[in-house]
Amino acid sequence: MAASAAVAASGTVKEESFKVENVQVDGLVVLKIIQHCEQEGGGPEAVQGNLLGLVDEVNKRVEITNCFPTPHRGDEEEEDSGQLQEYQIEMMRLMREVNVDHMLVGWYQSTFVRSSINRTLVESQFTYQKAIKASVVLLYDPVQTVQGCLSLKAYRLSEAAMEMCRDSWEYSVDYLNKLDVTHSEMLEEIPVKIHNSHLVKVLLCELSRKDPEPEPVDFLSLGTSVELEKNVRLLMSAIDDVGGDAGKFSNYQRQVARHQQQVQQSLQKRQQENAHRASRGDAPLQEEDVSKLKVPQCPSRLDSLLLGKQISGYCQDARQFASQSLAKLFLARALQDQ
């Protein structure tokens, strides 16, 4: 997969645990990500790419100075990760020749509203984070950006989540209790800053001269119910998923209870048998191997955690959006009064 290929290519493994407190992104990276999404976008598959840069341990900061897209595979799933790995190695080598920071510090992905906090995301991020302690994933939302608000967020797996992924992919309930991980602690969001050198700022001034863009005033339009509807619909489907998951879990619990009962029963039978035999003078039978009764598999709790995270994301979005719309409505009313 893309993650393992890049990890093998990077070759840098830091052992100490590392806390990243903010992420600094160069303007160039932002534009490149946007362009990549525009060119590939529209399809159901998210666009992906790798981030290159530096890790600043003193300030606990990850600086992202360049990025490159990874070709997405389309329908040929058999296209081996070998090719992808070659592509990444080659790209990083070429970057090195022109003095670009060639250290891999993470990866980016485009999302649709917030619908991509799912298992693949966690797995990929885990692979990256295992090899490169300071790696982050940047999620870019093209839909929101077009509406006028640049939406770029950085995430990392929390320490607890890393431990969980590292030890097992099973995520049984007891394990979760032990680590005390709630859904909000799986992925932590890190504030993002955009950074531009002074020369680039001159370029920006030049650009603003040459390309006087029309103000996106329709940001203030009041017809906002469509957005809200979409959000609520996504929320509902996520809740359905959680419901399904909860159902599975309660099934599991019932099975565990039944299993316990069965174990008890067989033990009792054994004992009775033994008592009988002892009363008749025969040698007691061996304790039957109770582990032959199948222990029910605990369903992975990871999905429920992630769904929880996603739902809270939707709720937050809905609230933000609603506050904006309320502000607009108040404005309109104030204007009308005048």
Binding site: E38, Q39, V173, I194, E215, R319
Partner: protein
């Protein structure tokens, strides 16, 4: 698509901000002994307009007498790019610096061989040395001049060069522009209520300008332009005159919907955390 337009000469160049950013970034990273950098421009060519979508630097050495360009690098990088964007092709090359030197001709020769535009590649210069107090961005195309059959030279014609971008790119550039006046180089992304605030402020500015203009016209300081006047009257007429009660009811129902959604969102979150606590107890 490109085949039909191959015979046309390049009339106009449109550059995306991404390419410009990439060039400036590469310039800042160059090794100290090279005063300027060159590289390849990728993009599309249609109906006389070249649209430059990406750029990457190519290492090269330049001395008084000769120029050497790492061609292998250029072709490798192109291969990699093609894997992601199959539609882009080489449309020209760029160089930093304000003037076109004699070596430019040689480099141009190489690009003539590799570009898909049959009438010659486009050459873009970016003045990173900031002569004249600004960063000039110019585009040229080369034409052969002189007497055919005898010595021929080349002349670089200037081609109009403008900046175009996707709407998302524009939003990003505008966000970044917000930080240009501040002393420190970083800019954090604003929260959403701030967005509303900013948009309102902009609209107020626009309205202010219109108000001033109308005052000027009425005061006789500025000659009234009838087309502008007509546009203004259209704008004013388009504001629908709604019965104030109706308006109130519309606003309140809108607000009720929003508040309901906020309430639901809060409930869901409370439910989630409750659920988590319960499962951890069980």
């Amino acid at each position: 698509m490109a085949g039909m337009d191959r015979a046309r000469v390049v009339e106009r160049v449109r550059v995306h901000p991404v390419a410009l950013f990439a060039i400036v970034d590469a310039y800042q990273r160059r090794s100290d002994d090279t005063p300027r950098i060159i590289g390849t421009l990728l993009g599309t060519f249609q109906k006389g307009t070249v649209e430059v979508k990406a750029a990457f630097p190519v290492p090269h050495q330049e001395t008084e007498d000769e120029v050497s360009v790492d061609l292998e690098f250029a072709s490798n990088m192109l291969e990699l790019h093609k894997k992601v964007n199959t539609k882009d092709s080489i449309v020209g090359w760029f160089a930093t610096g304000a003037t076109i030197t004699a070596h430019s001709n040689l480099i141009n020769e190489y690009y003539i061989r590799t570009t898909t535009i049959s009438t010659g590649p486009v050459h873009v210069t970016i003045d990173t040395a900031l002569t004249g107090g600004k960063m000039g961005i110019n585009a040229y195309r080369r034409a052969v001049m002189g007497v055919p059959g005898r010595t021929q030279g080349s002349l670089f014609f200037s081609v109009p060069c403008e900046v175009c971008s996707y709407s998302a790119e524009r939003v990003a550039v505008k966000e970044m522009l917000g930080g240009k006046k501040v002393g420190d180089k970083t800019l954090s992304l604003g929260t959403d209520p701030e967005q509303v605030l900013r948009s309102t402020e902009k609209m107020l500015e626009v309205l202010q300008r219109i108000g001033d203009y109308v005052d000027d016209v009425l005061g006789g300081r500025v000659v009234a332009d009838s087309s502008v006047g007509r546009m203004l009257s259209d704008v004013v007429a388009s504001v629908p005159s709604i019965d104030p009660e109706q308006f109130e009811s519309m606003v309140t129902s809108g607000m009720e919907d929003l508040l309901m959604v906020v309430y639901l969102a809060n409930i869901t979150q409370a439910q989630l955390s409750l659920g988590e606590k319960l499962t951890s107890i069980l």
